[in-house]
């Protein structure tokens, strides 16, 4: 009986001691906000396209950081972004649901534009300029190709064009060797299997 009391007391005292020490430590090492969300946000392509199901890149980054979203929802970011996020989060990479399309840029056929400003309001990065009742135009250098302006246009005068390939922006493709290709295939298979 006595020893049982001792045991309970000793264990309880020990636990209390540890609890108090940890409580103090919590105060000292308190972490503000979620620094990982910010890092994820910097990896995202910032198209603000909403294809991930979140209203923009930052909300998606927050969702990934607190674990409520998977790492593979960013379509324009493609496999590379997914891998970078998976790397950061320390989780297994997963296949991105849709293949990223070629980089696109919006173009407004100005003779059909009625100047309704609906696309201007829809553009998440302010890449369309124009005033009511005047032609609108897309600043091609600012357009992220998110397609968000297509929907609201009442006269369907917006086209998505493939960005032209310029000599200055050309870069060497992967060597066309069996080994390089199988390497690439292996990676994508791995991503799909996971």
């Amino acid at each position: 009986m006595n020893s049982l009391v001792f045991a309970v007391l000793a264990l309880g005292g020990m636990a209390l001691l540890a609890g108090v020490a940890l409580a103090i430590a919590t105060r000292v090492f308190h972490v503000e906000g979620n620094p990982v969300a910010e890092q994820i946000d910097h990896l995202l392509p910032q198209t603000q396209c909403g294809q991930c199901g979140y209203p923009g890149c930052t909300p998606y980054a927050n969702a990934v950081a607190d674990g409520s979203a998977d790492v593979n929802h960013c379509v324009p970011g493609g496999e590379r972004t997914m891998r970078a996020i998976a790397d950061l989060m320390g989780v297994e990479p997963k296949a991105v649901e849709e293949a990223a399309a070629e980089p696109m840029v919006a173009f407004i056929r100005e003779d059909e534009c009625i100047g309704c400003t609906l696309c201007i309001k829809a553009c998440p990065v302010d890449a369309i300029i124009g005033a009511p009742k005047h032609y609108h135009t897309v600043i091609a250098d600012h357009c992220t190709g998110c397609n968000l302006c297509l929907e609201p246009c009442p006269v369907d005068c917006i086209d998505m064009l493939i960005k032209p390939e310029l000599l200055e922006h050309w870069s060497w493709p992967l060597p066309d060797t069996e080994r390089a290709r199988t390497g690439l295939k292996r990676r994508s298979q791995h991503a799909q299997a996971a």
């Binding site: 060497w172 493709p173 060597p175 066309d176």
Partner: protein
């Protein structure tokens, strides 16, 4: 689809096959020595090893539906190396097991040539040693030694190798003897000092150098191994960094310890000529796939091998530490590669 070919539009003509064949050629003196010492037994051993390795490689690649790589000679080289580190009296099924282990678990499981982190031949050797310690430490007395065995003709060796039956009137104990590393170790346990131990067993440096004493098939003759090693370095197939730093480390540690306590520590020359050190230093540690790529890394690697070899020989449970040392250092290769990069042109410090 346009194929982009990057310069250089010119190639030096070197190939994997040429490199592998050069190593096989460099091993020829040691192979000849093995045949000289163990006669037909060595021939059966080597042929079994090489053919099983090549067969294993062919079958594995076939199963995985990958193109055959038999032509590059790497499987044959693994087989030859494995045969040379096996004792002569090993039965055929152990040889086959070792060869299959080397090719399948040592190499093909990792994706084949170029990806194995451990030297295949050595890992097979270590597995055999741990699984069959008795068979792997029974050393036949060479034909040139005192035994005068008639197991060395073709028919009887075949019988011995495949059926395991000795000619009448012979027992395995009668035809085996301990290696210098073995008897110095057991003697040391009984409190006999190294010089005394060497004297009682009539140890001679000349014998050890030429190789007319017990040991694994190909590791006895330091001379033959040295010849091949120098040929490889001269041809530029391997670099001097690993063998030199390996041997120098062993020699340095041995001379220091020997100078301090000659009764307990063997002299450097004994260490250099004994066991599988020469073979490991020139052919196993320098296996390009499982050793570091940079010169600095290779020196670190060699020194690490030397240190571990000497420590295991001196204090470990096993008489010979060279193969363990190489395998252990193989584990460290990715880190050595990463941290021992040379200073890049135009930078003050190394990365």
């Amino acid at each position: 689809m346009m194929i982009h070919l990057s310069p250089p539009h010119h190639h030096g003509g070197d190939s994997i096959r040429a490199n592998m064949l050069a190593v096989i050629l460099a091993l020829m003196p040691a192979t000849a020595c093995a045949v000289w010492l163990y006669g037909w037994l060595a021939v059966w051993q080597i042929l079994t090893c090489i053919s099983v390795c090549m067969l294993g490689e062919w079958a594995a690649l076939r199963l995985m539906r990958r193109p055959s790589r038999l032509h590059d000679g790497s499987a044959a080289l693994t087989g030859l190396l494995l045969a040379l580190v096996l004792p002569a009296a090993v039965p055929w099924w152990m040889t086959v097991f070792g060869a299959l282990f080397a090719i399948l678990l040592g190499k093909q499981v990792y994706g084949g040539l170029g990806y194995n982190p451990f030297n295949p031949a050595l890992s097979a050797r270590v597995v055999l040693l741990i699984s069959f310690p008795l068979a792997m430490t029974s050393w036949l007395i060479p034909a040139t030694g005192s035994g005068g065995l008639d197991v060395y003709n073709a028919a009887q060796t075949l019988h011995f190798f495949f059926a395991g039956t000795l000619p009448p009137g012979l027992s395995l104990d009668g035809i085996t003897a301990a290696t210098p590393l073995g008897y110095t170790k057991t003697d040391a346990l009984q409190g006999i000092s190294i010089p005394d131990s060497l004297a009682t067993h009539h140890y001679s440096y000349i014998d050890a150098f030429i190789g007319s004493e017990g040991g694994s098939l190909g590791e006895t003759s330091a001379l033959a191994l040295l010849l091949g090693g120098i040929y490889l370095i001269a041809r530029g197939v391997i670099r001097w960094h690993i063998p030199l730093s390996y041997l120098l480390t062993v020699a340095l540690l041995a001379s220091l310890s020997n100078a301090l306590a000659p009764a307990h520590y063997a002299p450097p020359l004994f260490h250099l000529l004994a066991g599988g050190l020469m073979l490991c230093a020139f052919y196993m540690a320098t296996d390009p796939v499982s050793s570091p790529v940079t010169a600095r890394g290779q020196i670190v690697f060699g020194a690490g091998c030397g240190l571990i070899t000497w420590v295991i020989r001196q204090w470990g449970g096993y008489p010979e530490g060279a193969m363990f040392a190489v395998l252990l250092m193989n584990c460290t290769v990715p880190l050595i590669d990463h941290y021992c990069r040379p200073r890049v042109y135009g930078y003050e410090r190394r990365p």
